[in-house]
Symmetry: C2
C-alpha cells in the first residue's frame, strides 16, 4: 500500500507539494467539494485524487496548507472527521500562523486524539525537477514524518515543542518580508522626492547586499502583497498585543494592503518599485 | 585667511568633522556657552575654537549637526544672528530631518537672507586617518561647498532642490536602521520561543547576506537605539501622517525606545542580540 497523504487545500503551494509527493509514489487525496473549475484542473494536474471526508480522515498524514486566517477553521473540520475514526492520521499544520494559534490548533486536533505536528514552510512551492522548500517540523510527533523525506520533501526537524517551527517561520518571514516592506516604502518615497538615483548609488556603495536583495524582493513581492497582510497580523500576534514591536507589524499589514490595492488598480507604486529594481530609475 | 567654518554643536559627529576640517587647515569655531567639561575637552581635542555668536555668524560656512529634534530651534537661533550681518555665511543643515522640516529650516534661514544647503550625513564620524562619511548636499547653493572636499570631507551633490538630500538620508536610514529594527525584534522573539538556532541556520542557508548584516548591525545598534527614536519619528513624518507606511516607523520609534531602556537597565534583550550576533546562541 502506498502512503496516503491528504492535502487541504489544493492551492498553489498545496498542489505543488501534492505533485512532488505523487511523483514519488504517494497517493494524494484532497477535498474538491464546491471548488472552481481551475482548482479541479490544478488538482488533477498535480495527481491529486478528489476524496470524501471519510477517506481524508483515513489518510496516514494530513497536511493543512491554507491561508493563515483559515487554519483554525480547517482544524475544527478535521477534528470533527477524525474523532469518529479508530485509526488516527498525523495532522500537520504547515501554515504561517503564530505560536498561540498553533497551540490552539494542537488542542483542537488533540481533542480528536490524533497526533499533531507544528510545521512551517520556508521557500517557494516545489517545481517539477526542482528543489523542495524547507518543511520545518516541531513537536513530539515530528520524527514520525521522516517518510515525507523519501517522498521528496525537504523535512527539517526543529528541536522543541509545538510552536517552535511556527516561531521560526514567523521570525524568518518577519525579517525577510519585513525587509521587502521597509524597502518598498522607502524606495517609493525616495522616488517621489527625486532621490531614487542617489539612494540606489549609496546602497550600491555601502550596502550592496541589501540592494541586491531589494532588486529581487521588490518585484517578487508585488503579486504576493495581498497574502502577506494576514501573515503580518500573525507576526504581530506572535510578538503579542502589548509587545513594543507589534505596531511595526500592524504597520506592515496596512502597507501591504495598500500595495495589494495599488497592484490591482493603477499600479503606480508597483511601477516605481519595478523601475528601481531594474535600475531604470537611473535613466528616467 | 583660512576658511572659517562654524560647527554646532560639538557632539560626537560635530567634533569628529571639526577635527577633520582643522587638520586640513580650516579654522573651526563652535559655541561652548554652558557646555559640560567633557564637551569643552572634546571640542579642544578636535581643534575647535570657542567663539561668541557674532564670530560664528561671520564664518564662511555654518554646519548644523545636532539631534533631529533640535535642528529647527538651532536654525531660529542662527537666523537671528545672521540677519544683522552684512556678509552672510552658507548655512548647511546636516541633520536627519525630514523633507518638510528641512523646508521649514530653509525658510527660517532664508528670512535672514543667507544661502541654505540641505545636507545629509551617511556613515560613521570620520576617524583620524580614516575615511569621511558621505555628506550629501542638495539645493542651488550645494555647489558652493566644493571647498569642503579640499578640507577632507566626502561631499556628494544630490541633483535636486532642498529636500533631496534629506529624502536620501531618510530613505537610506529607513532601510538600514529599519532592518536592524525588524532583525532585533524577530531575533529576540525567536530566541524566547526557542527557535534562534533554527532561524540562524535558515538565514545562513537562504539569506546569508541578511545574516551577515544582522551580525554587524544588531550589536552596533544597541548603544545608538536612544538616538534612533527621534530619527524614526522623522522618517514617519517624511512619509506623512496619513501615509499607509508611517505606522511602521512609529512602531520602530517605540521599539528603539524599548531597546534603549533595556540597554540602560537589565540589558536582557541586548544580551540576546549579542548572543545571536556572535553565534553563541548555537551553543547555549
Amino acid at each position: 500500500m502506498p502512503t496516503t497523504i491528504a492535502i487541504l487545500a489544493p492551492g498553489a503551494m498545496g498542489s505543488a507539494v501534492a505533485r512532488r509527493l505523487s511523483e514519488n509514489g504517494a497517493r494524494v487525496l484532497t477535498s474538491l467539494k464546491g471548488r472552481s473549475e481551475a482548482t479541479l484542473k490544478r488538482a488533477a494536474d498535480a495527481g491529486m485524487i478528489g476524496a470524501e471526508d471519510d477517506a481524508i480522515a483515513d489518510a496516514d498524514i494530513i497536511l493543512s496548507i491554507v491561508p493563515p486566517g483559515e487554519a483554525e477553521a480547517l482544524a475544527e473540520r478535521l477534528a470533527a472527521l477524525i474523532v469518529k475514526r479508530h485509526k488516527k492520521p498525523v495532522v500537520v499544520d504547515c501554515n504561517a500562523v503564530n505560536v498561540d494559534t498553533v497551540k490552539r490548533i494542537e488542542e483542537i486536533i488533540g481533542s480528536a486524539q490524533a497526533p499533531f505536528v507544528d510545521g512551517g514552510i520556508i521557500g517557494f512551492p516545489p517545481q517539477p525537477g526542482g528543489k523542495s522548500p524547507a518543511f520545518y517540523m516541531s513537536g513530539e510527533h515530528a520524527r514520525n514524518l521522516a517518510l515525507l523525506k523519501d517522498l521528496g520533501l525537504d523535512i527539517r526537524i526543529v528541536e522543541g515543542p509545538v510552536g517552535a517551527a511556527s516561531a521560526l517561520k514567523m521570525s524568518y518571514a518577519g525579517i525577510v518580508k519585513g525587509l521587502a516592506g521597509i524597502g518598498s516604502a522607502m524606495v517609493i518615497a525616495a522616488t517621489k522626492a527625486g532621490a531614487a538615483d542617489a539612494l540606489r548609488d549609496e546602497l550600491a556603495l555601502s550596502q550592496p547586499a541589501i540592494l541586491a536583495r531589494l532588486e529581487v524582493a521588490l518585484p517578487d513581492m508585488i503579486p504576493k502583497a495581498y497574502r502577506w497582510v494576514a501573515e503580518m497580523h500573525e507576526i504581530s500576534g506572535f510578538l503579542g498585543p502589548d509587545h513594543p514591536a507589534s505596531q511595526i507589524y500592524e504597520g506592515f499589514a496596512r502597507w501591504f494592503e495598500h500595495l495589494a490595492a495599488d497592484a490591482k488598480g493603477e499600479a503606480v507604486d508597483a511601477s516605481l518599485l519595478k523601475a528601481f529594481a531594474t535600475g531604470a530609475a537611473k535613466k528616467a
